[in-house]
Symmetry: C3
Subunit: 158 residues, 3 copies
């Protein structure tokens, strides 16, 4: 079911804040966009379509997302990099229990230090969004990526 324009724009703002938090390295802000009992997964499309359980990243709560953030902050064994999100076709519909079903196409670009910007990962977000004290949060975000060639250094969430 279609949702009111204001809510549609609020969903766009949530997606925007999500990407800005990752692109600007504000990982704590990124984790704060999820509900406490959230599900966050990065899955190759093939596996998603066949219902296979393999995921490149799998977090079942906001606490796990926060652990991931700590790992990023404290691990120095990876080359500095920055992401840039380009997202298209954000769609939002009313779903069951007052949630919003969202999806979008995404392209994530990556720039390693002193390297040119490259195409890093592309696919589709599949989301369940909850209104939590007037704020929208992700109860679920699945990042379903197109290529089974797994990025060899997926450190920052997508």
């Amino acid at each position: 079911m279609a949702i009111p324009i204001e809510l549609r724009l609020a969903v766009e703002d949530l997606y925007s804040e999500y990407s800005a938090a990752l692109d600007e390295g504000r990982y704590e802000d990124w984790a704060a966009l999820f509900t406490e009992d959230c599900l966050y997964r990065i899955v190759p499309r093939d596996n998603h379509d066949r219902g296979l359980p393999l995921a490149i990243m799998h977090c079942e709560s906001r606490a796990m997302l926060e652990d991931r953030v700590t790992a990023i902050r404290e691990t120095s064994f990876y080359a500095p990099r920055m992401l840039r999100h380009i997202v298209s076709f954000i769609r939002a519909e009313s779903a069951e229990n007052g949630t919003i079903a969202g999806q979008a196409n995404y392209l994530v670009l990556q720039t390693l230090a002193e390297q040119p910007t490259t195409l890093f990962n592309a696919g589709r977000y599949l989301d369940i969004i909850l209104r939590d004290e007037k704020k929208l949060r992700f109860k679920q975000r699945l990042c379903i990526f197109d290529s089974i060639v797994v990025p060899n250094s997926l450190i920052i969430p997508i």
Copy 2:
């Protein structure tokens, strides 16, 4: 002339459904987004600008689009691939005879089986959109792409 916000959002939804149909391999749904007497063309920008007739794909009716879909479904002489559309700057204005003139910038990514995602084709959509029983449909979609280097395997529409 500018159009009402609701109609602007409806045009965005049409573009969204168009891309989703192709990205998800729902080619019959893609063909259903066109009017029966539609024009669909994929043309290099140079040829379009000079008014030259050459097109990489040229369909003058929905029946021809459906033939194209059948060809995709029944041809097994091409490697499995998936597309991902990233579209930006969807613009819509009132045009003559109650139609809507639409345009947008597009980037189509392609992923071949067991290959990384690559930049496949980029350019501009140039559209005439019709309201048909409260539904929007393409009466014309021109895909005007930037590089004259023709994709050597343009099987799925763009």
Copy 3:
């Protein structure tokens, strides 16, 4: 502070016209989107973050932008090329003195004659937008790009 929907759409239209002017080679139209006392800069992200002054392009007035356009028109010492802008997450907020603070993620694709389309430059726009006789114009546009690998032929603005 959030801005009304109509103004939000007007900002999107400004971004859209900006990109279309560059993508279609209408450089005079591009310069006309700035205020007379504008600031336009293309800066590597690292330098921007550290407050370093280096810029790949730096113009302090619309007159300087127009000089740049003249230079593009009259210089024949570069290979013909075209750009294609893909922009995402256009955000707009009320700022001081009645201006609008805008930002967006951008990806610019480039196509040289008889070459495939390539990823040229990606980053973030950081803008101050002014209402000038009911029209929106850029008082400031900073193009902050991600890779310090400087494009070796940045001729057309981004």
